[in-house]
């Protein structure tokens, strides 16, 4: 009976039937708008901000933070956290730099080695957290120190000097760009899109949200919680490996001991500004990318305006408070209505 009622055209063409929530959230659109407004303002007040020679380095410095931020987003969606990425970056970077200096390894080997090392470090964190049943922040505080120790041992002296130009393909120079787009940023965009697709369209990705929302209910629903959590840390570790290569390339031929210091907080800041909830269950890698761009825009903008460069961090702090604060107040209003 019902079949007859239906217009044939309707059956053939399900016009704009929504089977998914919208692909971009309101917070992401707000971030895009804020970034756009800042870029326009900076373009007006500083003559050079919108020139390629200013935007390209900005994107190069966005790349490692956003790339590692993708992994951090995965972790925070599961209601975890990883404060050891600073130490892990230092270790991956120094090992890669030493391979380049002492053994002149080719590009693929350097990148593969760095990523493999990062994967191992991620597995260490992930195993302790998923199977050792200890609090993620505490364990990664601990491993941060341990990674830092190994990094300093490998450094030997305070810097690694005369690093060959092998990784410059990810760097700031002309070799690092195709059609004006920095390679490291292009790769980051690719990873973000891949991660976006994974989180949105695969069962494994959706399970990360389920785990962060209610780990016990997820377990009852048949979600393999522990392997999924381990995977999130392993992915982060691997991306740390690649991000370390980007950082080497973005710098000079000298790598400093302090390469990782404070990076974990920069990454977490980008993730949080991007709208991922630290309590788990909600988040977006596109938001993280935008968060990283916003932070770097402010950093670069403050310098170009001739303001004290350290003022940038004040804005980063304020952005975190505004981003999370509006979210909290919106949530509170929603609960009051319900």
């Amino acid at each position: 009976m019902t079949v007859l009622d239906r217009e044939p055209s309707e059956a053939v063409k399900p016009v704009a039937r929504r089977v998914l929530p919208p692909p971009v959230t309101g917070q992401e659109l707000v971030l895009v708008a804020v970034i756009a407004v800042l870029w326009v303002l900076l373009g007006i007040f500083t003559p050079s901000f919108l020139s390629p020679s200013s935007i390209q380095p900005l994107l190069v410095s966005v790349a490692p933070i956003a790339l590692i931020g993708v992994g951090m987003t995965f972790i925070i969606i599961t209601a975890g956290i990883d404060v050891s990425v600073g130490g892990a970056i230092a270790l991956c970077a120094v090992v890669t730099a030493k391979l380049l200096v002492n053994y002149a390894v080719p590009l693929p080997v350097a990148v593969a080695a760095s990523m493999a090392l990062g994967l191992v470090l991620g597995l260490v964190n992930g195993t302790l957290i998923a199977y050792g049943r200890v609090h993620a922040i505490i364990i990664t505080f601990g491993t941060a120190n341990i990674f830092q120790f190994f990094a300093l041992r490998v450094f030997g002296s305070s810097t690694v000097n005369n690093i060959p130009a092998t990784l410059d393909v990810f760097g700031r120079g002309d070799v690092g760009r195709t059609f004006g787009v920095p390679h490291s940023f292009a790769i980051t965009i690719l990873v973000v899109l891949l991660a976006w697709w994974y989180l949105r369209h695969t069962a494994g990705g959706r399970h990360l949200f389920a785990i962060g929302g209610n780990a016990n209910a997820a377990r009852l629903a048949g979600v393999k919680v522990q392997p999924r959590v381990l995977l999130a840390y392993a992915i982060t570790g691997t991306l740390v490996g690649l991000g370390a290569c980007f950082l080497i390339a973005a710098g000079t031929s000298t790598l400093d001991q302090g390469v990782g210091i404070g990076r974990e907080l920069a990454v977490i800041a980008a993730v949080v500004i991007g709208g991922t909830s630290i309590l788990g269950g909600r988040g977006s890698v596109i938001g993280t990318l935008l968060g990283a761009i916003l932070v770097q825009t402010v950093t670069s903008g403050v310098t170009q305006l001739g303001w004290p460069s350290q003022l940038a961090n004040l804005f980063v702090g304020l952005f975190i408070i505004i981003a999370v604060g509006t979210d909290l107040l919106r949530e509170r209003a929603r609960r009051r209505k319900a």
Binding site: V134, H135, I138, I139, N145, F149, I320, L329
Partner: protein, 359 residues
């Protein structure tokens, strides 16, 4: 007590061997464990010393002198104790930045503006309280997760310190003179027979330890903090107004940071804008000390004595490491030791919880 319990043989607890009870005490009483570890450390180091494996002498003078490092560490560990105890994911990542800001404030007031010492110190401490109050308001009244609120203010306050000081240390003759305050002194009367103990221990650390201990153990405020940290909902049902108490622990964390700010000015003989944030900063070691001292990250569990003993353990361990691994190596091995101790402590917490229930 032992006679009355012996009269009740039905209790399974009493029939267990001394060994298993000692093991349980070691695992469940963090203070016992820390005390044992300190003794083991001292014995091992003394043996290494007498075997000539150390670059210097690991004696009482050296241990006493090394305690200067305990001053900021233990004070900030106590600040973390307060906020972590209060529950709801309590943590304060901004302590290092608050140390920097208040240090600059003190340096400016005392060194440049010519305020007298007491007023300048008061200024730093009150400023610390205000900065902590911003954290507390965000956490207790707006509902920020503490990790996020203090991450934001970590950035903001750090920036304030650097911009305010124009990224240069604040220095003056007055501050140079204040440096002497941090030097070691001989205790009056009994001092002659004891090693020289750094003055900061008496002027800053011990008063803070006593005040925090009193607050937590002897005041109703302390009871309310433990109650809110143990079970926030039950605290409300028990008639406790939770939010002002939670605000206050963050204010106290700021006040202690203000004191540490003054201490660092004394130690460095100048007010450095990155005093609390250079390198790994001061927050991480402080949180490590708190966790090692038996503070449960979920709130409601933790004692002043645990934090103090954990500080002593780490400071003396670090001091020993510097003798065993001279030069730069020692600093690096300290990192490894801190990391391993933290991982070990938290795994132990998990194990204890599963084996003995609760903690």
């Amino acid at each position: 007590m032992s006679t009355t319990t012996a009269a009740k043989p039905a209790k399974p607890v009493e029939t267990r061997s001394l060994g298993s009870r000692a093991l349980e005490a070691l695992l469940t009483q963090r203070i016992v464990l820390l005390a044992v570890l300190i003794v083991v450390l001292l014995i091992v180091m003394t043996i290494l010393d007498s075997a000539g494996a150390l670059s210097g002498s690991y004696n009482s003078d050296y241990l006493a002198a090394s305690l200067i490092n305990a001053v900021p560490l233990a004070m900030l560990g106590l600040a973390q104790l307060l906020v972590i105890l209060s529950g709801r994911g309590g943590i304060d990542l901004s302590v290092g930045s608050m140390v920097s800001v208040t240090g600059i404030a003190f340096g400016m007031a005392y060194g440049l503006w010519g305020w007298n010492l007491v007023t300048a110190m008061l200024f730093a401490v009150v400023l610390g309280g205000i900065l902590g109050g911003i954290n507390g308001a965000l956490v207790a009244y707006v509902g920020f997760p503490p990790l996020i609120a203090t991450l934001a203010t970590f950035y903001a306050y750090r920036s304030v310190a650097l911009v305010w000081s124009d990224q240069k240390p604040v220095n003056s003759a007055g501050i140079q003179a204040f440096y002497s305050a941090a030097k070691a002194i001989e205790l009056p009367v009994i001092g002659a027979s004891l090693p020289l103990i750094p003055l900061g221990i008496f002027t800053f650390l011990i008063p803070v330890v006593i005040v925090v201990w009193i607050l937590l153990n002897k005041t109703t405020f302390g009871r309310r903090v433990y109650a809110a940290g143990t079970n926030d909902t039950a605290a409300v049902w028990a008639g406790i107004n939770v939010r002002p108490n939670r605000l206050l622990v963050y204010v106290l964390s700021g006040v202690i940071s203000g004191l540490v700010g003054i201490v660092t000015v004394a130690q460095f003989a100048s007010a450095r804008p990155d005093a609390g944030t250079s390198g790994n900063g001061m927050a991480l070691p402080a949180i490590t000390i708190a966790v090692l001292g038996g503070v449960a990250i979920t709130g409601g569990i933790g004692r002043v004595a645990g934090v103090v003993l954990a500080t002593v353990l780490i400071v003396w361990l670090n001091a020993g490491i510097l003798l065993a691994f001279p030069g730069n190596d020692g600093v690096q091995v300290q990192l490894l030791a801190l990391g391993l101790v933290l991982v070990f402590a938290s795994l132990l917490n998990g194990l204890t919880r599963r084996k003995y229930g609760g903690i």
